[in-house]
């Protein structure tokens, strides 16, 4: 019999459940399922996003699937609405996902507005969120870094607000830390950066700003060594969180504040 896990220290709380890891990862863009699994395991992530697509008809039924590599019993699957450009599409997709995952209600909502930039259509996002929440879903919502939209999404009942750091897949990091800080300061639900993380420091900065977690996919999958980057991201999220909890020193333009004593100087 397995020894019970000790309760997580400083757990991530989303929608009434707690998680040990503050790093959430996507499962796309990997070389193959083996690499997907290796990277996800190295990242320490418990929550993984998946897309919902037509199953391949006529494909070899013994061919491995994502679920073989990442069993839903081992990970919390977070279905997304990637590829949806309307509230209706997103709602339909997540209802199918709920059926697919045995009534599981924690979902990632994203409604895109432009196929080139993949920037979110926040109007359609709000519409979809309202319907989904009424239908019993726990919505983690991908959105722009507009603090007013973030406030509205929280007010209608989203369980997490997930503003972009920069465009999906761009790896540009956090382009507007000020907006992110505004969102974090006001939010009473977890704020997770989702989209645009490129390397470890981006994830650490997100956590230092006070994010509850970080969601990323491309930063790991398209690194030269994805498994190594997954490890780096795990450490970065932990380091950033610790630094946030430790409370950083103040910034000053100049300090004349040496760390060494000013007396007893050799004459």
């Amino acid at each position: 019999m397995n020894a019970p896990h000790p309760p997580p220290v400083d757990p991530l709380q989303i929608g009434g459940r707690v998680y040990r890891s503050r790093l959430l990862v996507g499962t796309g863009k990997y070389r193959d399922f083996a690499q997907t699994r290796e990277a996800v395991v190295a990242s320490g992530a418990e929550i993984v996003t998946v897309a919902i697509r037509r199953t391949n008809i006529g494909q070899d039924s013994t061919a491995p699937s994502l679920l073989d590599a990442l069993p839903p019993t081992e990970f919390t699957y977070l279905p997304n609405t990637a590829g949806c450009y309307s509230a209706d599409d997103a709602i339909r997709t997540l209802r199918l996902a709920r059926e697919l995952l045995d009534g599981h209600t924690l979902v990632k909502l994203e409604v895109l507005g432009d196929p080139q930039t993949l920037f979110p259509n926040v109007r359609e996002t709000l519409k979809a969120a309202e319907v989904l929440i009424k239908d019993g879903f726990e919505v983690m919502v991908y959105t722009s870094d507009d603090p007013i939209i973030a406030r509205e999404l929280e007010e209608i009942g989203c369980v997490a607000i997930m503003p972009l750091a920069s465009l999906i897949g761009s790896g540009m990091g956090i382009l507007n830390p000020w907006n992110l800080k505004l969102i974090i300061a006001e939010a009473r639900v977890p704020v997770l950066v989702d989209a645009g993380v490129g390397t470890a420091s981006d994830a650490a900065i997100a956590m230092e700003l006070g994010c509850a977690g970080v969601l990323m996919n491309t930063a790991i999958a398209l690194a030269q060594e994805p498994v190594r980057m997954a490890r780096a991201m795990r450490l970065a999220v932990e380091a950033g969180r610790e630094a946030f909890l430790a409370g950083r020193m103040p910034r000053k333009l100049y300090a004349a504040s040496p760390s060494s004593p000013t007396s007893g100087l050799i004459g």
Binding site: A51, R53, R54, T55, S65, P72, N80, L96, E99, L100
Partner: protein, 68 residues
């Protein structure tokens, strides 16, 4: 011959009295984690055996795949 549409492509069921469960068996999807939508309505797993197909039915059979 039952003429239906599955995932956007025409499909023909030999048995006119096929059910959703029969279709999944035919497509070797029994026991796989999928969800089924028929003519815009989700068919719960518990109702696969009891859901007959009719000519012209449009089905979407979906699964979870890698994504961000």
């Amino acid at each position: 011959m039952l003429s239906i549409v599955v995932n956007g492509a025409p499909h023909f069921c030999r048995d006119e009295r096929s059910t959703v469960a029969d279709l999944l068996r035919e497509l070797a999807l029994t026991g796989k984690r999928v969800a089924v939508e028929m003519n815009g309505e989700i068919v719960p797993r518990s109702r696969y055996e009891a859901s007959p197909l009719a000519a012209g039915d449009k089905l979407e059979i979906i699964a979870a795949v890698g994504g961000g």
